[in-house]
C-alpha cells in the first residue's frame, strides 16, 4: 500500500516528461496552405472626396464616415484629400478645369453659384435622404433651379460668455439689447473691453443678425430673394447693422485696432482664453479649440442679444457637398452622399465639430457650452449669414465692409461700400 502512491508518481512523472519531449520535437517537412480570405477582394470602384477640412480634429469624423461607408459598400473604396482654405477652391477649380475633378467635393455658397452655372455640379434632386433635411436647410438647397449640393453641417455664430468673470462682476448673461448694453457699458466703465472680435466673421455677423431677422421670421419672411433685384435696398437694410457696429466701437465695446489684428479662430481664442474679457464673437465650432487652450473659467455660447425683443442666431449652411457632374461613378458618389446625410452619420459628424445638423434633429449637442444655441435653429430666431436665395456673395461682401470700418469707415460709408459691391 505504501509503495503504490510512489509508483503512481513515477508513472505520472514519466508521462509528463515524455509529453514535454514529444512536444519539443516537430515534423521535419511540412506544407501549410493559407487560403485567401474574402476580404482580399479588391474594390471595383474608387471614389475620391476633396474637402477643405484638414485639421486632425475635423477629419476624424470624416475618417469614420469613410470607413463606415466602405463597410456598407465593400465594392467601393473612397479616399479623402484635404487642403485648407483659401487655396482649396483654387485647386478645386483647376482639377475641374483639367478633367481631374474629384467625385465628391466640398463647396461654399459662391462656388455653388459659380460651378452650378458652369454645369460642373450633378443634380442631387433624386437623393433618398432629401426628406431628412430641415425646412431651413431645404430653403437653402432649393434656392437654385435644382439641388446641387447638400449641406453637412450648420455652423452657428455666437456670443461666448465668460460666466466666472460675469459672476465676479455681478453681471449676468444678457438676453436682449438692453441687457447687453448694460453689461457692456459696465465693463467698458471698468476699463475692460467687453468683447473680443476677429477681423473676419465677428462683426459682419452682427450686422447681418441685426438687420435680417424680419426676413426669416417676421412680416417679410421668405422675401430675402427680392433683394436680388434691388441690391441698394439690401445695402440700406443693412444700415442699422453697420450703425450698431459703429456704436460698438464708439462705446468701446470692441477695440477697433485690436480687432483689425485679430484673426479668426486663432488670436481671438487666445485673447478670450485669458479670461480678462467677458464676451467673444466667433463661430460656435471654435469651442473645442478654445477648450484646447485650457481656459480656467467656465463659459457658454449664446445667440447675439442685440435685438430689443431678444436674441438672434446667425447660421450658415456649411460644409456643402457636391458631386462632380463629370464623375466616372456618379451613382456611387450619390450613394456616398446619401450615406453621409443619414441621421446618425450626420449627427456624429456635426457633433464632433461643435456644429449643428441640417437634418430634422432634436438631439442636444453633447457639449453643454453650446446647448443654449441649439433651440434657436428651430425657434424662428435665426438668420442665415450667406443665404442661397441671395444671389450676392453677401458673406464675403459684408466682410469687406467691416474691414473698411475697422480701418475707420463709419456706418454710412460702410453702407455705401456695400451698395457699391452689390451692384458691381
Amino acid at each position: 500500500m505504501k509503495k503504490h502512491p510512489v509508483i503512481l508518481l513515477y508513472i505520472f512523472l514519466s508521462i509528463l516528461v515524455s509529453c514535454i519531449f514529444a512536444g519539443c520535437g516537430s515534423a521535419r517537412s511540412r506544407n501549410i496552405i493559407f487560403e485567401n480570405s474574402q476580404e482580399d477582394v479588391k474594390p471595383q470602384v474608387s471614389l475620391t472626396f476633396f474637402g477643405f477640412k484638414y485639421e486632425a480634429l475635423n477629419v476624424t469624423a470624416i475618417e469614420n464616415s469613410l470607413h463606415g461607408f466602405m463597410d456598407q459598400y465593400p465594392d467601393i473604396s473612397i479616399s479623402y484629400d484635404g487642403i485648407k482654405n483659401p487655396p482649396y477652391f483654387e485647386i478645386l477649380e483647376k482639377r475641374l478645369a483639367t478633367g481631374n475633378g474629384d467625385d465628391v467635393f466640398m463647396l461654399d455658397h459662391a462656388r455653388v453659384l459659380e460651378l452650378g452655372r458652369q454645369g460642373e455640379l450633378a443634380d442631387l434632386s433624386g437623393l433618398s435622404t432629401l426628406g431628412n433635411f430641415s425646412e431651413l436647410a431645404k430653403s437653402q438647397m432649393t434656392a437654385l433651379d435644382g439641388i446641387y449640393y447638400l449641406p453637412t453641417s450648420i455652423s452657428a455664430f455666437g456670443l461666448y460668455c465668460n460666466l466666472d468673470l460675469l459672476k465676479e462682476h455681478g453681471q449676468e448673461v444678457p438676453h436682449n439689447l438692453a441687457e447687453f448694453e448694460q453689461v457692456c457699458d459696465y465693463f467698458a466703465a471698468e476699463g475692460i473691453t467687453p468683447i473680443v472680435a476677429n477681423n473676419d466673421i465677428s462683426l459682419k455677423t452682427v450686422v447681418l443678425a441685426k438687420c435680417l431677422l424680419p426676413y426669416y421670421s417676421g412680416a417679410a419672411s421668405g422675401q430675402i430673394a427680392r433683394f436680388n433685384d434691388d441690391p441698394a435696398a439690401l445695402a440700406d437694410t443693412l444700415r442699422p447693422g453697420f450703425q450698431f457696429v459703429e456704436r460698438m466701437f464708439t462705446r468701446r465695446w470692441v477695440d477697433r485696432e485690436e480687432t483689425q489684428r485679430t484673426s479668426k479662430t486663432k488670436e481671438d481664442l487666445a485673447a478670450f482664453s485669458k479670461g480678462d474679457q467677458p464676451f467673444m464673437l466667433t463661430g460656435v465650432w471654435a469651442v473645442p479649440r478654445l477648450r484646447d487652450l485650457n481656459p480656467d473659467f467656465e463659459f457658454e455660447v449664446y445667440p447675439y442679444p442685440i435685438l430689443d425683443d431678444g436674441s438672434v442666431l446667425v447660421i450658415n449652411m456649411d460644409t456643402r457637398i457636391g458631386i462632380n457632374a463629370n464623375s466616372r461613378y456618379p451613382e456611387e458618389a450619390k450613394q456616398f452622399v446619401e450615406y453621409l446625410t443619414q441621421n446618425d452619420v450626420m449627427w456624429e459628424f456635426v457633433d464632433s465639430q461643435s456644429s449643428f445638423s441640417p437634418l430634422k434633429e432634436n438631439r442636444l449637442a453633447e457639449d453643454d457650452a453650446i446647448q443654449p444655441v441649439g433651440p434657436y435653429l428651430t425657434n424662428g430666431r435665426s438668420v442665415i449669414g450667406s443665404d442661397d436665395n441671395l444671389l450676392f456673395p453677401i458673406w464675403d461682401l459684408s466682410r469687406e465692409c467691416i474691414e473698411g470700418m475697422l480701418e475707420g469707415d463709419d456706418a454710412d460709408t460702410a453702407v455705401s461700400h456695400m451698395e457699391q459691391l452689390l451692384t458691381q
Binding site: 475618417e63 487642403i83 485647386i91 477649380e93 483647376k94 483639367t98
Partner: protein, 844 residues
C-alpha cells in the same frame, strides 16, 4: 519545536510558490516581450523590404530620367526645336508627363506639341532651388491641381546652359503600387517626411485616409511628450526603429525605415499593437496554461507528498508506539517472569525441600509434622500466587465479570472475620469492624470479589502491622447520588509500618513492592493492590490510600452498590425487653445500641464487666431484671466469663439470658457455656443478627446454625465423589472418611450418573462433582442426574469442584443444576463448611 518546524515548512512552501509564481510571471513577460519584439522585427523587416521595393521603383525612374537628361545634354539650349523634338518622343505612362526647362531662359518644353512656355518667376525660383537630382515632395500641380510626384535632374546643355528635366506622375499611381498591409489589413505603410507629413498614403480600404501628419494622431492622444520628441528626433536623424503610441483608444506600433533614394523620406508601418500581440497572446496563453498545469501538478505532488508523509509518519508513530508497547509488554513480561520465577520457585523450593526433609526424617513425627506444616504454608502461598496471577490475567484480558447477587453484609463480614481474625489474634493485634449508618444489610454485589478486595486490604494491614498493633475497619453507609444504590465507604486503617510517598505513587502498579527492608522481609507478590484496584474499578468505585512511614496506612474504598432486589425484610416489632450491653469498645457499643433501638428496644450500655454486674444487681433489686445481657468477649476485670458468673449470682431466680459477642469465639465455648452463657454472637453485630438472636434466646425461636454447630462430624453421611485425578480422589476420600463419611468414588461423569442411578433414592447425601472429567464432564453429569426420574434426583446436593471460581464457572455450575462450587485446590475448611451447609439445609 514542532511549531517552529511547521513555520519553517510553511515559510519554505510560501517561498517556493512565490519563486515559481514570480518566475512564471518573469518568464511570461519575457516571452511576451520577445514575441512582441519578434513580431515588430518582422514588421520592420517587411517594411524594410517594402521600402527597398519603393526605392527600387524610384531608382528605376531616376535612372530613366538620367538617360533622358543625358540625351538632352547633347542638345544646345538655344535649339528649342531640337529640344522639343526630343521631348515629343517621351511618352508618359499612367498619366506621367515630362518637362524640360532651360533654366537660363526659363523656357519650358513639354511632351505636348506646341510652343514652349515661359515659366513665371515663382515657378522658376522653385525649380532653381532643386539641385542635382531627386524627388520633389508631393505637390499640387499648378495646372491640374492634382497631387503630383516629381523626379528631377539638373543637367547641362551642350552649350553649358543649365537644364532641368522633370518627370511628373500622379501620386496616386505610386500609392497604388505601394500599398503595404499587415496582419489581415489591420496595419498599413505610409511614406512620411522627416517632419511626419504624410507624403504617400496606402490606398488600402482599411488604411487611414485623412490625417495629414503622423504627429497629429500621436499628439492628440496624451502620449508621453518625451517619447514623442524621441520619435521625432529619430525621424530627423534618419534612424530605423519601432515606437509604440496610444491612438484611438488602443496602442499602435510605428515601425519606421528610412528610404535610401529619397533622403529624409521614411516608410512608416502603423499596426495596432493588439494585432501584433494576438499571436503572442496565444503563445502566452498556452504558456500560462502550461505553467498553471505545472503549478497544479506541483501542488498535487506536494499535497500527495504531505499526505504520504503524514500517513507514513502516523504509521511510523503507530509502529513506534506499538514497538514501545511491545517493548513495555516485553519488559513487563520479563519482569513478571522474573518476579514470578522467584515468587513461584521460592515456595516450590520450600515444598520440595520440606518434602525431602520429611522423607529423611520420616521416623521423627514432630519434625515431620513441622515439615508438613511448612509444606502446607508454602502450598497455600503458591496457590495464592497462582490465583493472583490468574486473576490478573483474567482482569487484564477483560474476561473477568462481576457476578452481582443479593448478598448480606453479615455473610460478607462473617467470612472476613473468619479469615482475618485468627491471623490478627496470632500477632496480638486488635481487629475491629465498626458499622456506621447501615440501613441496608442486603445489597447486590459480587461477594467473591468484594471479599477479595477486603481480604487483600486486611491481610496487608495485618501483615505490615507489627505485633500489638491494631487494624480497624469502618463501614459507613450513606445515600448514593446514583439511583437505587447505597454508597458504602469502607475504610481499612492500621497502625503498621506505613509507606513512603514515592511508593504510594506506584502502589497500585503490578508487582509493586516498596523497596524497604521491612517489606522485603514480608512475603508478597506485589499483585494484590493491583488486583484490588482493578476490581474496585470494575465495581465503578474508587480507592485511595493515605500513609506515612511509621504511622500506618488508611485505605478508603468507595462503592455505590445496587440495592437488593428484595428489600430487607422488615423485622416485626419486638416486645419490650430490657437489654444490657456490656462492651469496653464504646463505638461497638453505640452501634449495637442503635441497631437495638431500631428494633424498638432501649438497651442500657456499660463499659465494663463490673459495671454490668452492678447494673444487673440494681435492676434485680428493683424487680426490673434485664431480660438479655450482651457481654463482649474482650471485657476485662472481670472478663466476660467472670462477669457472667457474677451476674448469675446476683440475679439468682430470674437470670437474664447471657450472650457473648466476639469476633472469634473458638476456644471459649466450653468455659462460656459453663458460666451460663447461652449463645454466641459473631461480631460485628448487625441488626438482623441481633433480632434473630433475641428471637431465639428470648422469644424461644428455633436456633440458627452458629459457629458452635460447625462441627466436622460427617458420621453416617454417604458422599459420592466424581473426580478423575487420583491424588484429589485420595485427598478428598481421606479427609471425608476421616470425618466419618462413607465415600464412593468414580472417575468420570458417566460413572457418576450410573452409580447414582443404581443407588436407591436417598442413598447418597451429597455428590461432589469435578467439572473437567473425561467421558462426561461434571455439568453434563449433573444435568443427567437432575433429569433422572427419582425422588432425590432434583434435591440431592451437588457441589462442583472447579479449577477456579470465576463468575462464569459459578454460573455454569448453577445453571447445570449444581448447588454450589468449590475452587481447586480444595480448601478443606471451606469444603467442610459447604458440605455442612448443604447437608443441614442452610447452604446457599
Amino acid at each position: 519545536m514542532k511549531i517552529k518546524h511547521r513555520w519553517k515548512t510553511l515559510l519554505l512552501a510560501v517561498l517556493s510558490v512565490s519563486i515559481v509564481l514570480l518566475g512564471s510571471i518573469y518568464y511570461l513577460r519575457s516571452v511576451q516581450n520577445s514575441l512582441w519584439l519578434k513580431s515588430v522585427t518582422d514588421v520592420l523587416e517587411v517594411t524594410a523590404q517594402g521600402c527597398h521595393a519603393l526605392d527600387t521603383y524610384i531608382e528605376k525612374d531616376m535612372e530613366m530620367l538620367h538617360w533622358l537628361a543625358e540625351d538632352l545634354s547633347a542638345e544646345d539650349s538655344r535649339d528649342g526645336k531640337a529640344i522639343q523634338e526630343e521631348m515629343l518622343h517621351l511618352s508618359g505612362d499612367s498619366g506621367s508627363s515630362y518637362i524640360c526647362v532651360s533654366l537660363d531662359t526659363n523656357t519650358c518644353y513639354g511632351t505636348q506639341p506646341g510652343e514652349a512656355q515661359k515659366l513665371n518667376p515663382e515657378q522658376a525660383e522653385a525649380l532653381l532651388a532643386l539641385q542635382g537630382n531627386g524627388i520633389r515632395e508631393p505637390y499640387l500641380d499648378g495646372r491640374t491641381g492634382v497631387w503630383t510626384l516629381g523626379y528631377y535632374e539638373r543637367f547641362s546643355f551642350k552649350d553649358g546652359a543649365e537644364g532641368f528635366l522633370q518627370k511628373s506622375l500622379p501620386l496616386s499611381t505610386v500609392a497604388e503600387r505601394f500599398s503595404l498591409s499587415f496582419y489581415d489589413d489591420t496595419g498599413f505603410s505610409y511614406v512620411v517626411s522627416p517632419q511626419g507629413d504624410i507624403l504617400i498614403r496606402s490606398l488600402h480600404r482599411n488604411s487611414n485616409r485623412t490625417f495629414q501628419n503622423l504627429f497629429d494622431i500621436i499628439d492628440l492622444q496624451g502620449n508621453d511628450p518625451d517619447e514623442i520628441r524621441s520619435f521625432q528626433a529619430a525621424l530627423e536623424l534618419g534612424k530605423k526603429g519601432a515606437a509604440r503610441f496610444y491612438y484611438q483608444e488602443e496602442d499602435y506600433v510605428f515601425c519606421y525605415v528610412p528610404m535610401e533614394n529619397t533622403p529624409g523620406w521614411y516608410l512608416v508601418s502603423i499596426v495596432p499593437n493588439r494585432v501584433i500581440m494576438e499571436q503572442t497572446h496565444n503563445i502566452v496563453q498556452n504558456s500560462q496554461v502550461f505553467l498553471i498545469l505545472i503549478l497544479v501538478s506541483g501542488l498535487i505532488m506536494a499535497a500527495f507528498y504531505i499526505v504520504h508523509r503524514t500517513t507514513s509518519r502516523r504509521i511510523l508513530q503507530a509502529e513506534e508506539r506499538a514497538r514501545l508497547a511491545a517493548e513495555s509488554a516485553n519488559t513487563a513480561k520479563s519482569r513478571f517472569l522474573s518476579n514470578m520465577s522467584h515468587d513461584i520457585r521460592t515456595p516450590m523450593n520450600a515444598i520440595i525441600g520440606m518434602t525431602q526433609l520429611a522423607s529423611r526424617h520420616a521416623g521423627e513425627p514432630d519434625k515431620v509434622r513441622e515439615y508438613l506444616k511448612n509444606i502446607e504454608l508454602s502450598g497455600q502461598l503458591l496457590v495464592g500466587l497462582i490465583n493472583d496471577i490468574l486473576d490478573m490475567s483474567k482482569i487484564e484480558s477483560g474476561k473477568m465479570k462481576l457476578n452481582n447477587m443479593d448478598t448480606s453484609l453479615e455473610t460478607l463480614l462473617t467470612n472476613l472475620v473468619r479469615i482475618i481474625q485468627p491471623t490478627a489474634a496470632q500477632k496480638n493485634q486488635g481487629f475491629h469492624i465498626y458499622l456506621h449508618g447501615i440501613t441496608h444489610e442486603t445489597l447486590s454485589f459480587d461477594p467473591l470479589r468484594l471479599n477479595q478486595v477486603l481480604i487483600n486490604l486486611l491481610s496487608n494491614a495485618v501483615k505490615f502491622t507489627p505485633e500489638g498493633g491494631a487494624v480497624r475497619v469502618d463501614i459507613t453507609e450513606s445515600p448514593s447520588v446514583r439511583e437505587n444504590r447505597a454508597h458504602l465507604t469502607i475504610r481499612v486503617a492500621d497502625t503498621g509500618i506505613g509507606m513512603k510517598p514515592e511508593y504510594l505513587r506506584h502502589i497500585f502498579d503490578s508487582f509493586s513492592r516498596e523497596q524497604d527492608d521491612r517489606v522485603h522481609q514480608t512475603e508478597g507478590t506485589g499483585l494484590g493492590m493491583a488486583i484490588v484496584k482493578m476490581i474496585v474499578d470494575m465495581m465503578e468505585g474508587t480507592i485511595t490510600v493515605d500513609s506515612r512511614p511509621g504511622e500506618g496506612s488508611v485505605f478508603t474504598v468507595d462503592l455505590d452498590l445496587l440495592l437488593a432486589a428484595a428489600a430487607d425484610q422488615e423485622n416485626p416489632a419486638l416486645p419490650g425487653i430490657r437489654i444490657l450491653i456490656a462492651d469496653s469498645d464504646p463505638e461497638e457499643s453505640r452501634t449495637t445500641a442503635e441497631f437495638l433501638r431500631a428494633l424498638g428496644l432501649s438497651p442500657d450500655l456499660v463499659p465494663s464487666g463490673e459495671a454490668a454486674v452492678q447494673k444487673a444487681a440494681a435492676a434485680h433489686s428493683h424487680g426490673n431484671d434485664y431480660t438479655l445481657i450482651l457481654l463482649d468477649a474482650e471485657l476485662e476485670d472481670p472478663d466476660a466469663v467472670g462477669t457472667a458468673l457474677a451476674i448469675l449470682e446476683q440475679t439468682g431466680e430470674k437470670p437474664p439470658s447471657l450472650l457473648l459477642s466476639a469476633y472469634d469465639c473458638a476456644g471459649m465455648e466450653e468455659e462460656a457455656a459453663a458460666a451460663g452463657i447461652k449463645d454466641f454472637l459473631q461480631k460485628p453485630l448487625l441488626k438482623t443478627a441481633l433480632y434473630r438472636c433475641i428471637c431465639q434466646n428470648v422469644l424461644g425461636d428455633k436456633p440458627a446454625a452458629t459457629c458452635k454447630d460447625m462441627s466436622q462430624d460427617l458420621t453416617g453421611r454417604r458422599i459420592l465423589l466424581a473426580e478423575d485425578n487420583m491424588l484429589n480422589q485420595e485427598i478428598a476420600r481421606e479427609l471425608l472418611e476421616g470425618l466419618g463419611a462413607q465415600m464412593d468414588v468414580v472417575s468420570n461423569g458417566l460413572a457418576c450418573v450410573e452409580s447414582f442411578e443404581k443407588s436407591s433414592p436417598g442413598h447418597y447425601d451429597l455428590i461432589l462433582m469435578d467439572v473437567q472429567m473425561p467421558v462426561m464432564n461434571g455439568y453434563e453429569a449433573t444435568k443427567q442426574i437432575r433429569g433422572l426420574d427419582r425422588a432425590d434426583a432434583g434435591v440431592i446436593p451437588i457441589l462442583a469442584m472447579t479449577a477456579d471460581a470465576f463468575a462464569e464457572d459459578v454460573e455454569a455450575a448453577l445453571a447445570a443444576g449444581m448447588n454450589g462450587h468449590l475452587a481447586k485446590p480444595l480448601d478443606i475448611p471451606t469444603m467442610i463448611r459447604q458440605i455442612h451447609l448443604l447437608l443441614n439445609g442452610n447452604g446457599d
